[in-house]
Symmetry: C2
């Protein structure tokens, strides 16, 4: 190696160092207003990532779990997966002439969603099953991908993939940059989320925990496929969330993020952990963090909590106050809600 | 930066390059004899990792799934998890005086395993349930860890964590070094494997798919725990393996490794995949790889296949021949079976 090359290398190293400095200086949580909420996050991350700190957690144990509906993306006026199902009912109606006289489909096809849902949970389940079963897992993923690429939110007219919260996207990236492994733990269908979450959130399909239907292996003529059946297998909501976390992840998370009473048990399970593996034996280090996104911004998003049918936040809000969990006041804490167009 | 520092840097870069060269030159599959078996693996890995190759697969899609019993570690004279259960029956017997007159426990406590198993699958399930339920997931993990640290294989007297196959350890590391994400997909209990697989195989708990029992969330006095119940939830064997892969991983693997008929559907599902995402649209690139470990080495390990009660390999061996899957002849293909002491 000549001295000239050596010099160039030295310059390259200097330049790279300079850019690294710039990256460090830039606020990774740019859409969060400064204040106690933001500080509670950055303080926690600092203490679990500082080697030698009594709260240091080794990277393998830095598991962070996120609810999806109402935590990473919006959930009003209805869960987006349910809006997907409604679109599918319309698309599949020509193949189901019997739906014209059969509830909840008859009402739906007349555009009467409220009438269709008069049948309560049973009606909702029928709609989900009619639109989420009877095809292979790969065919279903294709349908989801086509919908997510073309459908628009009924109020904002933006693609659903733009109805995600910019501050939460930054938070996901910030945690990963600090050695965390980020998971979705959602009441939504796992097969509905997996096709698009990697692109939108940077979370690969194998890090998505969700509700699921039964699938059955079928092998005929060399084509080995999995057929989706009209039968619920697992509801990843409420007490199902810690069960799902245990089933899929197998470790107790150290950070959990939710927005409704359906997340309460996940937050309890996360914060009730014993000392994280790798923390000192004296018990000082058992750092756990829970956060609730409180929808307080009727202007930029939606304002709802204790009385809402969707994303009801009541018991978990009381428990957050009692236990000192972080509560995001969307109106106060977020500079920006959705990504810029 | 002075010129001296620049020179030191240049030297450092040269030295690092030298070590990288050495690492490349060293065979990562040292315990595999050269031949068609080894070559089928390295050829496949080369083609899916060579950018511009029609068979190139982007890293996110490089999913490799491994059976555990008989593929990563031994499974004779009995599945090791069953040997764990037998040890637990002995340890728990003082708390269960009724077992003295109750099969299958009575026979077991007299040391008559064969008599205990006369009750067939029902007896086996009773033994598993009696030893794997009635405690929290964390208490169970602790029990497994204590056992794995102290128990010895009945024939070799080595710890079970040394009854793993050295060539497969090298293969796991080799695949990961080539951008693969490695998963276990085993008929064994997921909660039995997770406590130790990270140390032994370098596979984190969240990349383990296995059979499971029902767990229930319980929250009392601020202690949020998951209780293991005596009820089977999921059997990750045979047609359950593709179902488990879909449930936990959500992508079709491109490489699968097994050793018995219980792995057949996993191998079928893996090899029947359409073009991997990221491969060219002309259909040329749909590279899939299946491998079966054939236990042919009575001297260094055990020799068994079509007639064996444990790890029966019959239909899958025929299908491997018909479809050109790689079959490892342990006696011929492996320089070494277990790690050196």
């Amino acid at each position: 190696m000549t001295q000239t090359i050596a010099k160039s290398l030295a310059v390259a190293v200097l330049v790279m160092g300079h850019f690294a400095g710039v990256a460090r200086a830039k606020d990774p949580l740019l859409s969060w207003n400064d204040g106690t909420t933001k500080k509670s996050i950055t303080d926690f991350v600092a203490k679990v990532t500082t080697e030698g700190s009594p709260d240091f957690v080794k990277p393998a144990e830095r598991i962070a779990v996120f609810d999806n509906d109402g935590t990473l993306w919006a959930e009003q006026p209805m869960y987006f997966q349910f809006l997907f199902a409604l679109d599918r009912v319309k698309a599949l109606a020509p193949q189901h002439p019997e739906w014209k006289d059969q509830e909840p489909f008859a009402s739906l096809l007349k555009g009467d969603v409220k009438g269709a849902l008069a049948g309560g949970q049973k009606a909702m389940l029928e709609i989900i099953m009619a639109t989420h079963a009877g095809m292979t897992t790969e065919e279903f993923a294709k349908t989801v991908n086509e919908w997510i690429a073309t459908a628009r939110h009924p109020l904002t007219k933006r693609p659903y993939t733009e109805m995600v919260y910019q501050p939460m996207l930054e938070l996901l990236a910030y945690l990963r940059a600090n050695g965390f492994k980020t998971f979705i733990v959602s009441g939504g269908g796992v097969e509905f989320m997996r096709p698009w979450v990697e692109t939108v959130y940077g979370i690969p399909p194998e890090q998505v925990v969700g509700s699921s239907g039964v699938v059955k292996f079928e092998s005929a003529g060399g084509k080995a496929v999995l057929m989706k059946e009209a039968k619920v297998e697992f509801i990843d909501d409420g007490p199902g969330k810690p069960v799902g976390i245990n089933r899929f992840i197998g470790r107790r998370p150290i950070m959990a993020f939710g927005n409704s009473d359906g997340d309460l048990q996940m937050l309890q399970y996360t914060t009730a952990g014993g000392p994280a593996e790798g923390s000192p034996a004296d018990g000082s280090g058992s750092p756990r963090f829970a956060l609730i996104v409180h929808h307080t911004d009727a202007e930029r998003e939606f304002a709802y909590d204790r009385q809402s049918h969707i994303g009801k936040l009541d018991k978990a809000l009381d428990e957050a106050a009692a236990k000192g969990w972080t509560v995001v006041d969307m109106r106060q804490d977020w500079k920006q809600v959705f990504p810029s167009k």
